[in-house]
Amino acid sequence: MTLLGRIPRDYLILIGLVLALLTLPSFLNQFQLSIAILILYWALLGAAWNLMGGYAGQFSFGHAAFYGIGAYTSTMLLTELGLSPWLGMLAGAGLAALFGIAMGYLTFRYGLKGPYFALATFAFAELLRLISSELKFINTSIGIHLPLTGGDSWQRLQFEDNPQNYFYAITILFFVGYLIKISLVHSKLGYYLQAIREDEDAAAALGVNLMRYKVTAVAISGGLTAIGGSFFAQYFFFISPELVFGVPISIDILLGPIIGGTGTIWGPLVGALFVTPLGELTRAFIRTPPGFLSFIEGRSGLDVMLFGAILIVVILFMPNGLVGLGKQLWARVKR
């Protein structure tokens, strides 16, 4: 076998994918590019969630906690100390990981599993939302506007003149995030986590330290999620407790991996590729429907109903997500 053959296939896919992505800005207009940015951003967040919710089987309904910690940490370091958001991102990831360790320890210590664990994560996120709404030094519920300094700067991660640089930035983060994820999945830790997901008691009986590995999964997942939160702050210029610690963020984060396929490498990306443009497509469909459906033109709200209906159909008929469906079809073709 050649050297290339020994590298897990997922790394090669990732490198090929990123190389292809880097050419996109020369094809796409600004509108299409901003959708591409959102896809990669949700894919990154989905991958982060998937480590904990998919591979370790610890379903989180409160990833907004990590996300908000990331957004607020990098923003406060930027506005108060003028620290580059790249460093702020690392600090946010570290803080979120610490929070994840504390949260993981407390919840696993008391043996919370399944829906009870999910509810606990939800409670932690709500806790942070309510506390941050009261904290004066982060401007309470009013939120923080990121200072715009004009022009482009990689150091400040702000691109007023060339927004395609945001695409390169998220591509870098996406690459790093997936690199971490793939190496983790192919490591011992990855196998421990999957063993824990399949049967905790059996894994423990074989000598897997449940507490240690579950907490590790929460910490890594939380750290990666925080990076997404920092990117949000830099890209949308405004954060508030409602926006970054709110329930909608927790839901949006897990939507991609669940649609795409939990516990798979590429599921979160496939999910983001499906969910993000779907919102745009249903909006465009209602805006300019085909002739025979002209009576629905411009009916506000219909696009959201259509979006919801499609999601329900996908979940009903593809319990293993789009990636699961793809695998099934592929198996059938091979046979």
């Binding site: 600004q30 009013i142 411009g298 506000s300």
Partner: protein, 400 residues
């Protein structure tokens, strides 16, 4: 052969003139048409369409060019607001009106700046939006500071005019979306300046709250002269009901940018309880016949009373049309330059002077007006030059 050629030429010419005739100047609108804020967003969208139709019926702009409307739904989220702004600009929007929410506005303003397309904010309250040095963004409505500062001053003036002392207040505010908190901050600062003691500031969750009786009991124990309330419609209605439940012992309930006490819907929902409630808020000018005609037209077309937010969207279209005329061009940077020079005095708002934008883009004359429910209708009571009736103070409906 020659005939064929000539008819071909005619056909081409015909097409070209048709195409030229079909040229329009596009105004984009981004508002929350779905989700919890859709009631306002849809009205704002309608109001833009109505203003554009009126302008087109009167012959369009620049001597006959019609305006067209590119409508977009922000769904209330910054992300969608952003991609929709990009789309509208891609589709050729010459100017944009948006957003109703501060969180969406900041982002759209950044895009407007980058793409050099002027943005007129109809409604979005947070001061900080215009602190960024944007040159393409202009705001019609009074910001949080104007709301809070004027609210405190109206309260003080009202007290002095009636000879009743207002020495202390409690502020009840929605504390999650940022809107109530920013207005509260400005109000409390100004009230303290004016010598009014703020005994307590009590926050609540506007979209989750189901009962405010505990808060009202606490307020009763603090014995303020006046209760000041800042928030949205449903929570404001709840506050009114719970205040009556505990027979709140105050001289008045005074809204500051409160979304309930200046709405006809409040009278319909609360009946006699609504009497005497005060609200210092942005509004149309009820003493202006043109404004009343616009409201009547809106109601006849869309079948429901026009909200203040929609009046601001409607106004924004006329401010942009005025800028296009003065610019003599639909070129977005030219419209921006003309907007910066705006001096628009045919306005429908209760402002002391014409619509004029300062260098940050803030409407220098924007201010709220104090309204009160009297005999089942909303009337302007302060400042005196805009008053339709004398204010009733002290007055609460459960003590009459």
């Amino acid at each position: 052969m020659r005939l064929a050629k000539r008819s071909m030429l005619l056909l081409v010419l015909g097409c070209v003139s048709l195409w030229a005739g079909a040229q329009t100047i596009a105004i984009g609108g981004i508002h929350p048409l779905t989700g919890g804020l859709a009631a306002d967003g849809i009205q704002m969208d309608n109001a833009i369409q109505m203003a554009i139709d009126e302008i087109n019926e009167a012959g369009g702009v620049l001597g006959g060019t019609p305006l067209s409307f590119l409508s977009a739904d922000s769904t209330g989220s910054a992300e969608v607001g952003q991609t929709e702004a990009e789309r509208l600009i891609n589709e050729g929007a010459n100017a944009i009106i948006c957003c109703f929410q501060s969180s969406v506005t900041t982002n759209v303003a950044t895009i407007a700046e980058r793409e050099e397309v002027p943005l007129v904010i109809d409604v979005a309250v947070m001061d900080a939006i215009l602190d960024q040095g944007f040159t393409y963004t202009f705001r019609l409505q009074p910001n949080a500071t104007a709301m809070g500062v004027n609210g405190a001053n109206y309260l003080k003036e009202l007290a002095e005019a009636s000879g009743e002392a207002v020495d202390s207040v409690v502020v009840l505010f929605e504390g999650t979306s940022g809107f109530g908190d920013s207005v509260r901050e400005a109000f409390v600062a100004e009230a303290s300046e004016l010598g009014i003691v703020v005994l307590d500031e009590i926050g609540y969750e506007p979209f989750a709250v189901t009962d405010l009786t505990t808060e009202m009991t606490k307020i009763n124990a603090l014995r303020p002269d006046v209760l000041v309330v800042t928030g949205y419609y449903n929570d404001g209605l709840l506050a009114a009901r719970n205040a009556e439940d505990v027979l709140l012992d105050v001289k008045a309930v005074f809204g500051v940018a409160q979304g309930t006490y200046d709405q006809a819907q409040f009278v319909a929902d609360a009946g006699d309880l609504a009497e005497c409630f005060l609200d210092s808020n942005y509004h149309h000018d009820a003493s202006n016949a043109d404004a009343l005609a616009v409201l009547a037209r809106y109601e006849s077309v869309y079948g429901e009373p026009m909200r203040t937010s929609a009046v601001f969207s409607y106004q924004a279209v006329y401010v942009i049309a005025d800028a296009i005329e003065r610019a003599g061009s639909a070129d977005p940077p030219a419209i921006r330059d003309a907007l910066a020079e705006t001096n628009f005095d045919d306005f429908l708002l209760p402002h002391p002077g014409p619509i004029v934008f300062d260098e940050t883009g803030e409407n220098v004359n924007a201010r709220p007006v104090l309204m009160q429910v009297q005999n089942g209708s909303i009337v302007q009571v302060w400042p005196p030059e805009l008053a339709e009736a004398d204010p009733l103070f002290p007055c609460v409906s459960w003590n009459r």
